[in-house]
């Protein structure tokens, strides 16, 4: 499953890189890419795992790197 999120308050390009690396290491995440310029993140998740559980981990990883950044998908905020 592939989902595209908005990343609000993303301010530093290096953080975006670090987030990308951290998210790729999460179990159940096949691939992740963050476009700092459009502030969008695309995450590909293995079908076998629970979407909600993985997204929670993704949101936590983002929060750890940049405390201000907020993950949003179709009007729902995570983290």
């Amino acid at each position: 499953m592939k989902k595209t999120f908005e990343l609000e308050n993303l301010h530093c390009a290096n953080c975006a890189l670090n987030m990308e690396n951290a998210i790729r290491k999460i179990d159940g995440v096949q691939n992740a890419s963050i476009n700092f310029i459009t502030r969008r993140m695309t995450v590909k998740i293995t079908d076998a795992v629970s979407f909600e559980a993985v997204i929670k981990k993704v949101a936590a990883a983002i929060k750890r790197i940049d405390g201000c950044a907020v993950l949003e998908l179709e009007g729902v905020y995570y983290g």
Partner: protein
């Protein structure tokens, strides 16, 4: 500038004023420290806060931490003005970066401002604004002047000029009326039209284009990967260097530790790879944005970069270099008039809908009186026999003339030759050919100017026709009479001939050539307006069907790559020089922060040039 940026600017101005006054007012001891701590706190309070918070979260070595460590260290060794200056310039650099990125972001967003917000549905004589996603195939929508066409469809009623420039970069409006196809994302300029929807919103052109551009960032170019890898070891290495510099030399030389700490702080100041990390993707994104403004959609930075190494450009003929529409190009009668010959041929062929018959009817222009035809018979593979006004007319190939024993004359013109005989006597022939596009010759010329080593044309058409087109356009190699599977073989053969770094580009119209598009290093499909399949099959998509967009795309890609390389060399060069001078004790903190912020600003400014490529 947004609210946050304005707030930061006010803080920086206030901090700078306090800083200058602290610098000018003579004070000593605790009072002096306090006078510098105030502007420091005003300007760098948030950085310190974030640094402490992130350390507790286990996030070491981020830029907040590095800047905090560098400035606190400077305070520790008594270099108060340097500490405040590092913070000031760092913040100015950050502010400028966020401003420049915001600006690029907006101009790219403007570029992509083709997403329709609503569709008008007529209900009980009233127009209701509806979410385009809820419109079904077969629904009739109303598009008023000035509105975007929300979904792909066919005009049912009305006529209008539509502006396709947001999709194609073409400024000339297109006229549409009942029966014409319209593409979502175009703007209706003047008339009211009713459109029968034939694709849902998710399948409509506008959605496909937006998805493509938005997802293009996922395919990174080589310089982006380089920066990602580089930044992963650069920061830890610079910090390790700083630690070693602060600890080892004082032990060895028994010199003043203050001097070595000062040199170590320089390492911390320069240790953030931010300028590179932001400027490289910004450059490629700008390049992709600049290409889409011209109707060239690139599916990823990797393809844009690869295009700069194009070595062989292979074209499909029909529909790519030629219009794919057949025209009568010459009429050569014997004994009868030109008009008479054309009339006979068009009338005899009037019951057929073969492209050749259509082109004859189009050339004849007048209405065909079918009642004159009393009998017609198709001779498969050869032509037609028809009885017109009591006379037996044969229209077809030279072989047909041989069969009926009519002595035909060969023609020196290229194209399909249609011979005509009346009551067995030869009446002349008509030449029908596919027209070469207006900009094809210019395209090949431009490609040669761009030092493309080889241009190749592949076609399923006859040798005589293919060779003629290749010669007219000055194409280096041509391969004719190919079946679709032969084309893949030829691409593979050509791929084997190119150099290791060089890339092979295939250009087709996206119909029937998906395997070839996939096999080439870079597949370019043209004419996406009207053919959704082209968008999926290729790496780069041209919205219109102009081959001249290819040299434009290559130019954009080369310029984009050049800017990216400039940024890498500039930023790395300045950083290494500053590190070296810092380690040797030649540079001071002022110079280090100036160099670091300065190069960030320059790199970001340079990368915005990728977006503003004009020709």
């Amino acid at each position: 500038m947004d609210k946050k940026q304005k707030y930061t600017m006010i803080r920086l101005i206030a901090g700078a004023v306090l800083f200058i006054s602290a610098y000018l007012i003579p004070a000593a001891g605790w009072l002096r420290l306090l006078m510098f701590l105030v502007p420091y706190a005003v300007m760098g309070g948030d950085i310190l806060y974030n640094a402490v918070r992130n350390v507790f979260k286990g996030q070491l070595l981020d830029e907040n931490f590095l800047m905090s460590a560098a400035t606190v260290g400077a305070f520790y060794i008594g270099e108060y003005p340097e500490a405040v200056a590092v913070m000031l310039f760092y913040q100015i650099g950050e502010l400028f970066q966020s401003y420049a990125v915001g600006k690029s972001r907006r101009s790219i967003a403007d570029l992509m401002d083709i997403r329709p917000d609503y569709a008008n549905i007529e209900k009980d004589g009233k127009l209701i604004k509806t979410d385009p996603e809820q419109i079904l195939i077969g629904d009739v929508i109303v598009v008023k002047p000035g509105e975007k066409i929300p979904l792909d469809g066919t005009v049912q009623e009305g006529a209008a000029s539509i502006d396709t420039s947001a999709l194609t970069g073409e400024s000339l409006p297109r006229k549409v009326s009942s029966g014409d196809e319209v593409i979502s994302g175009c703007v209706n300029m003047n008339g009211l039209i009713k459109v029968v929807v034939n694709r849902t919103f998710g399948e409509s052109t506008v959605t496909k284009i937006l998805d493509l551009v938005e997802n293009s960032a996922a395919n990174k170019a080589k310089p982006e990967y380089f920066i990602t890898k580089f930044s992963r070891w650069y920061t830890p290495a610079a910090v390790a260097g700083a630690l070693l510099l602060a600890v080892i030399p004082p032990l060895l030389f028994r010199g003043s530790p203050g001097e070595w700490i000062r040199r170590a702080l320089i390492f911390l100041v320069i240790s953030c790879p931010c300028a590179l990390v932001i400027s490289i993707p910004l450059t490629f994104f700008g390049g992709i944005g600049s290409a889409s403004k011209r109707g060239i959609l690139v599916k990823g930075a990797n393809y844009l970069e690869a295009l700069s190494d194009s070595e062989i450009v292979v074209f499909d003929k029909t529909g790519t270099l030629t219009k794919g529409v057949f025209y009568v190009t010459a009429v050569h009668p014997e004994k009868i008039s030109e008009a008479m010959l054309l009339e006979l041929a068009a009338t005899a062929e009037s019951y057929s809908d073969h492209p050749i018959s259509v082109s004859l009817a189009a050339a004849y222009k007048k209405d065909i009186d079918r009642t004159r035809v009393s009998e017609t018979e198709e001779i498969p593979g050869h032509g037609i026999r028809a009885v017109i006004d009591g006379k037996t007319v044969h229209v077809g190939s030279s072989r047909l003339m041989d069969i009926i024993g009519s002595k035909w004359n060969p023609c020196s013109h290229q194209g399909s030759i249609v011979h005509v005989a009346v009551d067995g006597e030869y009446a002349g022939h008509i030449v029908i050919s596919d027209e070469i596009k207006d900009d094809s010759a210019q395209t090949i010329k431009e490609l040669k100017k761009l030092r493309i080593l080889k241009t190749v044309m592949l076609t399923g058409d006859r040798k005589a026709v293919g060779k003629d087109v290749a010669k007219t356009l000055d194409i280096d190699e041509n391969y004719c009479e190919l079946l679709p599977q032969d084309k893949v073989k030829h691409i593979e053969m050509l791929m084997a001939k190119k150099s290791g770094k060089g890339k092979l580009v295939f250009v087709g119209d996206g119909i029937n050539d998906a395997p070839v598009l996939a096999r080439a290093d870079i597949g370019i499909a043209m004419g996406a307006l009207g053919s959704g399949s082209a968008i999926e099959a290729a790496d780069i998509v041209l919205m219109d069907d102009k081959p001249s967009k290819i040299p434009v795309a290559i130019k954009i890609s080369r310029r984009t790559k050049k800017i990216a390389v400039q940024n890498i060399v500039l930023a790395l060069g300045v950083k290494f020089i500053a590190l070296l001078l810092g380690a040797l004790g030649i540079a001071n903190l002022w110079e280090a922060v100036f160099a670091d912020v300065g190069v960030s600003v320059l790199a970001v400014l340079n990368s915005t040039r990728a977006l503003k490529q004009t020709e």
